[in-house]
């Protein structure tokens, strides 16, 4: 998806028109806002100014207050790696890290995430493109089939290791129960987390 080729998403965006044109310019221009923490301002167009820190970049957005963090990241910032499954906190596909804790982006209003450090699947690889040990482990162990739940699984798994809840297979299963996989790649997901745990601790 990172190639120069037109992706399905770029194609859709170019044919439907960008929904947030005036604000999109902020991030397309790549101008980090360096905003200090500010209260959201209600604007005349019923949009609120929202400043989000995502993957070490600052984005200034004009959002309807009802916008979830999930929709803000996907549709307004353009990072579509985070997936929408149930949109009701039941499947875990939208899991991101907020200040290092795993959260459901579908159950967080974007306004509430101001001033927090948000990490999505796009923010895991190193500057040289080297994959995070958890990403590599999912590839090594074939820990997915269709891949739709995978970004959420990987973010959740990283937090699972950091929390110290990946000591046994049973504990991994229990603490990963908030991430559903309809392809049922569970045994391989457990194996991937076991491997990544060793590599993350060795790093």
């Amino acid at each position: 998806m990172e190639s120069d080729n037109m992706t399905r998403r770029n194609f859709l965006a170019s044919t439907t028109g960008a929904a947030a044109v005036p604000i999109a310019a902020d991030w397309l221009a790549g101008s980090p806002a360096h905003a200090t923490e500010t209260m959201p301002v209600q604007r005349g167009d019923n949009l609120a100014n929202v400043t989000l820190r995502v993957n070490r970049q600052t984005y200034r957005l004009g959002l309807d207050g009802r916008t979830t963090l999930l929709d803000a990241v996907r549709d307004h910032i353009g990072l579509a790696g985070t997936k929408k499954g149930c949109d009701h906190g039941q499947c875990g596909a939208c899991t991101v890290l907020i200040d290092g804790q795993r959260h459901l982006a579908c159950m967080t209003f974007a306004l509430m995430a101001e001033g927090r450090e948000i990490t999505t699947i796009e923010g895991l690889a190193g500057p040289d493109g080297k994959l995070h040990p958890m990403q590599q482990a999912f590839i090594d162990h074939d820990a997915f089939q269709c891949g739709y739940c995978t970004p959420g699984q990987i973010l959740s798994a990283i937090a699972c290791v950091h929390e110290g809840h990946a000591e046994t297979d049973a504990q991994i299963r229990e603490y990963m129960s908030g991430n559903l996989c309809r392809c049922a790649a569970y045994p391989n997901i457990v194996a991937a987390i076991r491997q990544a745990k060793n590599n993350m601790e060795g790093a």
Binding site: M39, P40, Q42, N46, A48, D64, G65, R66, T68, D87, H88, G89, G92, T95, Q101, R102, H103, L104, C106, M107, T108, F109, L111, M112, S156, A159, C160, E163, H165, R173, E174, Y175, M176, S177, G178, N179
Partner: protein
């Protein structure tokens, strides 16, 4: 989802003032201004149009008091309402002195939800009754006077204790059962200032007004939950029976705190979950145990006492026998704990 105004409170006082500035004439759960912390219930019910607040007061950044800390004092443990479930479940004092609290938290929801959900919000979690959550059905809790679709509907998940002809919705939480069994208290902030009352009086059985779920007044906010020091609470346990092994609500559950002298019960505290409309203190079961030797027969007698007044509605008939067996097993497991 209906549009709403968003406010961010910096202090407890400001949270109450921001909520009060909106019209607050209805029951707190339906008031036009709502507090939001973890948001795991609020965003869900707003997306379903079950809740349509005109204003949300974000209390996550309240400071000035230890709202986000667990504080150990001579009187016991003081939980700030903004402590997250995931923090409390692994807190050393909780794990050491109150196993029943750690278990109720760890067995609830998923780790993502536990990382988000605050303790104050957790105890106010709304029922999972499908008729409450789907606005096309009658529901006295969501729309007072419209009727109850569950009583003659699909009620396998519904309550057998504390029901009324107006509502049989189950209280869905787990942590509250631990707080009932430990005789915790609640400290609130509201338009009339701070007040304190027993946790056991927070929730209201549905009776004729299922829309009134708690005794909180409009604009009143849970600030702290206090659990008294109780050395014998180290022998405490939560047994949760579910349709699947993880990430599921209770079908039946029991929170037990036992003070034993050998095999003789000095004192017992019992709360039931998954089977009642509110976090349910099983006083009759406690009375059946005190001064008695705890064996299988005595556990059965306690379980029978707990469900004497139970009433089932068809698909949930099984909950009476399952509830008794859950309580029996929980009692015997608690007795066998190595302290």
């Amino acid at each position: 989802m209906h549009p709403f105004a968003y406010h961010r409170a910096e202090t407890g006082r400001q949270a109450v003032d921001l909520a009060r500035s909106s019209v607050m004439t209805r029951a707190p759960q339906q008031a036009s201004a709502q507090f939001i912390a973890g948001g795991t219930t609020m965003t869900d019910l707003m997306k379903l149009n079950v809740l349509q607040p005109e204003a949300l007061v974000d209390i996550n950044r309240m400071s000035g008091e230890p709202y986000d800390q667990v504080v150990e004092t001579a009187e016991g443990l003081r939980f700030g309402a903004l402590v997250r479930m995931a923090e409390a479940q692994d807190h050393p004092a909780v794990v050491r002195d109150y196993p029943v609290i750690a278990e109720t938290l760890r067995l609830a929801a998923s780790q993502q939800i536990r990382a988000m959900a605050s303790l104050g919000g957790n105890v106010l979690q709304r029922t999972r009754c499908a008729y409450f959550r789907e606005t096309s059905w009658p529901c006295n809790k969501r729309n007072p006077g419209s009727g109850c679709a569950a009583i003659n509907g699909m009620n396998r998940q519904h309550a057998v204790l504390g029901t009324s002809e107006h509502c049989i919705a189950t209280y869905p939480g787990d942590f509250a059962q631990a707080l009932i069994a430990l005789e915790a208290s609640v400290e609130t902030l509201g338009p009339k200032g701070a007040r304190r009352f027993p946790f056991a009086t927070l929730h209201r059985a549905p009776e004729a007004s299922p829309e009134l779920e708690t005794r909180l007044e409009p604009g009143e906010l849970i600030a702290f939950i206090d659990v008294p020091a109780r050395p014998w609470a180290r022998r405490s346990h939560y047994l949760k029976v579910r349709d699947r092994e993880s990430y599921e609500f209770a079908v039946a559950a029991a929170a037990i705190v036992l003070d034993l002298d050998g095999e003789i019960v000095r004192q017992a505290r019992i709360a039931l979950g998954g089977v009642a409309t509110v976090p349910w203190r099983a006083s009759a079961a406690e009375d059946a145990l005190v001064g008695q030797r705890l064996d299988e027969d005595r556990a059965l007698a306690a379980a029978e006492a707990a469900f004497t007044d139970a009433r089932s509605y068809g698909a949930n008939d099984f909950k009476i026998s399952l509830g008794k067996r859950t309580l029996m097993r929980a009692l015997l497991e608690t007795k066998r704990m190595e302290i």
